[in-house]
């Protein structure tokens, strides 16, 4: 008999990003924005350098002129196993849960911003102001996600609301989860399937297979953060892998 707690914690959620497939279309950014009630990054916010983007596309140029090409890397919270943001939180608002996710508990957060300072990936965002949406967007907000008020740190949650719903629906129908059944907003939106979400505990899941690829690398490996987001390096026209060194 599997208890409800065991059913939830038997997973180790993670993501694989095939950089070779990413076209930099920003569909994931928009999907994340709408799914997770992320405050609007208006011009005013942008000028203060306080834009919110739980997932962002970083653009790099490579090659010599005139054969310059752009390379895009989607960066979101890496959900590090060895996260620098976690030990610095004085109130345990961010911690590593049993599903391999680095989670942020909004109602515990007191806004010290230590985690934001500790994060080497710059994927944590602080609500300096109460978020406001134009009246036309009020009905667009996702009722499954808390609206973070002023003074609270936020970051990519691996769309935990979708994970909860997926696990619940599988339990309701009394069956095991199928790989690919749970999709985060960004993987759902990605037109080239560059982003793949799944369970690392399942050896046959797409993320597990991709994480054993020769092209696999993780960001800022030297910091030993052990991210749960793995990247597959881009292949250039000559067949060599690029991007492992940045």
């Amino acid at each position: 008999m599997v208890t409800a707690a065991e059913r939830v914690s038997s997973h180790k959620w993670g993501m694989a990003v095939d950089v070779d497939r990413c076209t930099g279309c920003q569909a994931c950014v928009m999907a994340c924005q709408t799914e997770n009630n992320i405050p609007l990054s208006t011009e005013d916010i942008y000028r203060q350098k306080r834009t919110f983007a739980w997932i962002r596309i970083e653009r790099y140029w490579y090659g010599d002129f005139p054969n310059v090409k752009a390379r895009f890397i989607p960066i979101m919270c890496q959900h590090c196993e060895n996260a620098p943001c976690e030990p610095v939180c004085p109130v345990f608002a961010t911690y590593h849960n049993t599903e391999g996710m680095n989670v942020q508990i909004y109602n515990r957060c007191v806004g010290t911003r230590y985690c934001g300072a500790g994060c080497p990936y710059n994927v944590r965002f602080f609500n300096y102001w109460e978020p406001v949406w134009p009246s036309t967007l009020r009905n667009q907000l996702n009722p499954d996600v808390t609206i973070r008020s002023r003074g609270i740190m936020e970051k990519c949650s691996f769309c935990v609301q979708r994970i909860r719903r997926g696990v619940r629906e599988a339990a309701q129908e009394d069956r095991d989860l199928v790989d690919g059944e749970i999709q985060t907003a960004c993987t759902d939106a990605c037109p080239t399937n560059a982003l793949v979400f799944g369970d690392f505990n399942d050896d046959n899941s797409r993320v597990s297979i991709m994480s054993h690829d020769d092209r696999k690398y993780t960001h800022l490996d030297s910091l030993n953060t052990e991210p749960n987001v793995v990247y597959l390096a881009q292949i250039d026209a000559t067949g060599g892998a690029i991007g492992e060194h940045e």
Partner: protein, 254 residues
């Protein structure tokens, strides 16, 4: 006699040599002190009780708002004899005392076994039955009976009784599923197993109505619904721990 006039002009002296206005002020201050202490004590008791459970039922904190229509759960969900407000027995047209009809909660709160929210039934659900049944004396029931398709009075503005904070994501479905599954060897907070098993159906499942009262109290005996349980996080976590349910923060907070 000059000295006598002089004493009249002087301030009246008390035995202790204090002026009379001081003598008046002392009990005033004392009473004021007692009053302030009483108010402070009340405020403290209010906040302490509110912290550990439901706040004192004063100042509108009685957890039982007056609804726009006096909907009696006793008549719908209960199966006991019905009484009027003045204590007299409620009779039908033939002079028989009425009893509640004992509907299951899911008869009206239909989405509770499938989704997040129990759901308030639309007026349509009321009309389904009240087209033909119900007292002719009752004003809302008369309205339901005579209402036409053209004249839409709009939804009933029910007052919400059970409300969780915005940072809590409570889903009814898994709780109902868990509590109605008698195969589980579970320990349910605030309730004994026998009461659950008393509501067991022939197919082994348990009526949702029996499980709802775990958190909602005995709704079927309430004419005006009140929040009985404090519904604080401690209560949730207690029950989750006893039943091996997940206690990770992101179970409810995300």
């Amino acid at each position: 006699m000059a000295s006598g006039e002089k004493t009249l002009n002087e301030q009246p002296q008390t035995d202790n040599g204090r002026p009379a206005w001081v003598k008046v002020l002392i009990p005033v201050l004392a009473l004021g002190g007692v009053g302030v202490t009483a108010v402070l004590g009340f405020v403290m008791v209010f906040f302490i009780t509110a912290w550990f459970g439901n706040p004192l039922p004063v100042l509108g904190f009685d957890q039982s708002p007056v609804q726009p229509i006096a909907f009696p759960h006793t008549a719908h969900a209960g199966s006991e004899l019905l009484f009027n407000d003045d204590g007299s027995a409620k009779m039908d047209a033939e002079g028989k005392q009425l009893t509640g009809i004992g509907l299951d909660c899911t008869f009206c709160h239909r989405t509770v076994t499938d989704t997040n929210v129990a759901g308030i039934p639309p007026v349509e659900t009321c009309v389904t039955c009240h087209r033909v049944i119900g007292s002719t004396q009752s004003e809302p029931l008369t309205l339901l009976r005579t209402i036409g398709l053209g004249d839409d009075p709009g939804p009933i503005q029910w007052k919400r009784v059970h409300r969780l904070p915005d940072h809590v994501r409570f889903v009814h479905e898994p709780h109902i599923r868990f509590l109605t599954d008698v195969g589980n060897t579970h320990v349910i907070a605030n309730r004994d197993e026998a009461a659950i098993l008393a509501g067991t159906q022939s197919d082994g499942s348990v009526l949702a109505a029996v499980t709802c009262s775990t958190c909602h109290g005995d709704i079927k005996s309430q004419t005006q619904v009140a929040q009985v349980e404090p519904l604080k996080m401690g209560q949730c976590v207690d029950c989750h721990r006893k039943n091996d349910a997940p206690t990770d923060c992101t179970t409810c907070h995300f």
